[in-house]
Structures are given as structure tokens and as C-alpha cells.
Symmetry: C2
């Protein structure tokens, strides 16, 4: 389950697709949204919806398709929103200032935190939003891209914007990571003593000419944080090395 704080904020964001022509894209958009914790999909004059293609590509996100709102007028999709964000991949005249998604995401999230609603508007696959549609927005976002090939697939663009919004709320990965007990300073120092003694015993370290060997090994082992289990393993290896030598 997403943390309540996270889902409360993200629930204020609606993804609006204007005249989507490929039903498969609608399904892919739903999937992209759900992976990032978004849930509200609005379709303005979809060419074909509902559709088995949409269901197929939605994978486990068909609940978003079931809940999707379908309207015939763009303004009906934007009711109640203080932020209306147009996604544009091309140069346009006389529009509000353009931002990249990373600049805009914290601002949009802040509005959500105030209980305001945000609409993200994506245009039809072939040509994007019309100038008239863009003019009805109060923000324009563009995804920095290869100038020679800047048009992301519709669902990919939704994925990137949704990802930026989530990253502005919740970057937590702790549920995917294990806890490992770390070695303490004294655990590690005992290891280095063992290590030095062993290296001398096997003739690799000359105590009269140690050069920088121990500092280099400290640097190697200290680069990541050593864990207790790892120190035990290393000391076991060193012990076996010394005993093997007798």
C-alpha cells in the first residue's frame, strides 16, 4: 500500500488524454499511471474506448480504465483544477513559460498538498495538443529530449511525468532493501590488525618497508561500509591463511 500521505497527494492529479487515437496507448497510460500511484484518467473524445486493446495493455491496471471519465469537451475535463499543465514537444508561440518536468513537479505537488487539483494534458498521438488546447493551460511542460527525435510515445511521456511527480513526493525504496548489521569501528580495527599480521606472516608485507599497502587496503575495504558478517568472513579467511602456513 502506498503511504496515505503519498496517495492523498497523488489522488489530486488527473491525467487527461485529448483525442487518443490508439486504444492500446490508453491501456499503457493506465499502467504507467498506476506504477507511479496515480489513479485518475480522463479521456476527451477517445477514438475507441472501451476497447480490448486498452484492457490488454493495461495489464494489472484495468481498475483505472474502469474508473476513467469520458468527456466530449476538454473544458469538462479541467473543471476544478487550479493547475492545467500542457505537455508539448514543439515550439509554440505566445504561451505561458515552459518548464522541464523536474522544475514543475515540486510546484504541482505543493498545490496538491493545499488540496488543489492538477490536470496533466496530453494531446493526440500524431500531432500532440492543438494550439487552442495549449492556450487553455496555465503551464507548459516539455521533456528534454534529442532535438532530432523528441517525440516520446504517449504512454512513455505519461510515464516520465508521473515518475517526476512521484519522485517529488516519495523516493522511498526501503521496502526493497534488506537490513544488514554494520561492523563497528573496533570490529574493523581488529580486522586490520589481523590483516596486517597475516600479510607479514605470508611474506607479502615487509614490516621494515611497508610502503602504502595498509593504507591502500584500508581504502579498498573502507569504501563501502563493512558489515559484521563480512568482517567475520574476512577474519576467518585470514585465520585459515595463517594456520595453513604453519
Amino acid at each position: 500500500m502506498d503511504k496515505p500521505a503519498t496517495s492523498n497527494i497523488l489522488s489530486r492529479i488527473r491525467v487527461v488524454l485529448s483525442h487518443p487515437s490508439h486504444p492500446g496507448n490508453i491501456g499503457s497510460v493506465a499502467r504507467a499511471m498506476k506504477t507511479m500511484g496515480l489513479s485518475r484518467l480522463v479521456l476527451v473524445n477517445p477514438r475507441s474506448f472501451p476497447s480490448p486493446d486498452a484492457l490488454a495493455l493495461a495489464s494489472g491496471a484495468t481498475d483505472l480504465l474502469d474508473a476513467a471519465q469520458v468527456v466530449s469537451e476538454l473544458d469538462d475535463a479541467l473543471i476544478g483544477c487550479t493547475q492545467v499543465v500542457a505537455l508539448s514537444a514543439r515550439r509554440r508561440e505566445l504561451t505561458v513559460p515552459m518548464h522541464n518536468p523536474r522544475e514543475l513537479a515540486p510546484l504541482l505537488i505543493e498545490r496538491c498538498q493545499h488540496g488543489e487539483e492538477v490536470a496533466l494534458l496530453f494531446g493526440t498521438e500524431m500531432s500532440g495538443l492543438s494550439n487552442d488546447e495549449v492556450r487553455r493551460c496555465n503551464r507548459v511542460v516539455s521533456i528534454p529530449a534529442n532535438p532530432d527525435y523528441s517525440s516520446l510515445n504517449l504512454a512513455q511521456a505519461v510515464q516520465v511525468i508521473a515518475y517526476e511527480l512521484r519522485m517529488a513526493v516519495d523516493t522511498d525504496l526501503s521496502h526493497l532493501q534488506e537490513y544488514h548489521e554494520l561492523a563497528t569501528h573496533d570490529d574493523v580495527e581488529r580486522l586490520y590488525v589481523d590483516l596486517e599480521n597475516t600479510l607479514v606472516q605470508i611474506g607479502f608485507l615487509d614490516p621494515d618497508n611497508p610502503k602504502r599497502l595498509m593504507p591502500r587496503l584500508r581504502r579498498l575495504l573502507g569504501r563501502g561500509q563493512l558489515e559484521k558478517v563480512e568482517v567475520d568472513i574476512l577474519r576467518g579467511i585470514l585465520r585459515a591463511t595463517r594456520e595453513g602456513r604453519r
Copy 2:
């Protein structure tokens, strides 16, 4: 054309797909890569490649498919790389520390700037990378996602990682934006004088009880940067208002 600095850096990154099962995804991956300026695709034991599905979904990125390297052993895909990054959506034991893409991207780009090669490794659609494959990587990245639904479509995951890498190199949107000459301080102050006089003339502002009207209007007009053309338009409107009143 991407700036030479940008394409030089990004050319050191290879996207490696291990056992991709849907040829359409290979095409979508190529498209996602090209939008972000990546070009090097490597396929380890693809189920079906080349394929018309891949070509169809690659859209304008078929050149990446033509140049794609196909190998049968994962290690052959990773030759020469100092950074081998596994994308993982699940919890795994005993792996190198996990990062989100935003933490990792600057580090990877820095290595590219030193002329080093980076491999981004993505697993098969159904189950992702095997534990054995992940262990061969020296970095693990996970895309923060909805804990209940964290598995992005393969091409979507590539799009997000590629986007993060590009954002670490080049966020330039200037080629999409127009230049508009801004109004100077004195242009704007003349406007406010006009505005105040007009509001008094039409009886909306009482000079004996101005309240906070002019500060509020200054705040409204000053929120965005006024442009010269806009100041001219506003002064024209005010002039017409005053002349209409006589």
C-alpha cells in the same frame, strides 16, 4: 542535432536487454532510447529478433535496431564496462546497495565523462533479471513506484532511466522557447502611473481611500515578468478607457 558534448557522453551508455520475449518491446525500447539520445542496444538471447513488430514500434528509431548487437552470453554484452547497472523491481538478497535513478545518474555520467563505458541491464518481461544476472552487476537501481504495483513495462523502465541520464547531462529546452523582449523597470513604472490615473478617472480608485488596490495590482502584474509588447498593450487599453470616458 544533439550537442557534441551530450552525444559523446551518452554514446558511452549501452542498454542491454536480457532475454526479451516480446519483439514489440524491443522496438519501443529503441524509440525510448533515441528520444533521450542513447543509441547502443544489445540483446542477449532475444526470443524473436529481427521482427516486424520491433520495426513497427520503433517508429523513427529503426536505425538503433539495425545497429543492435545480438549476443548469446550476458558477459559478452558487458565487455569493457566499468559500470554494470541492474534494474530491479524486487527485493533481493546479498546485492550491492540499491539506488534510485536520480542518485545514480550523475555518477554514471561522470564515469562516461572519463571515457568509461556503462551498461544498463534490463531483465526478461515476466520476471526481470535472475539473481545470478544481478550478482554480475556492480550497481542496482530501482525506480520508486507504487508498492502494490511496481512493475513498469520494460520500455517504460528504459524510458525513465534514459530520461534521468539525459537530465544529468542536458536539460536544455531553449530551442523550443521564443525570445520576448522584457519590459524595463521604467516601462513598468510608467504603466502603473497610467493604471492608477485611469482607475481614479473611472471612479474605481478613490484617491482619498486607496486601500491596497495598487499594491495588489502590482503583485498581479509583477508575478510574471512583463514583456515590452504587453506593457504597450496594457497602456493602449488604459488610454482607450480614458478616452472612451470623455
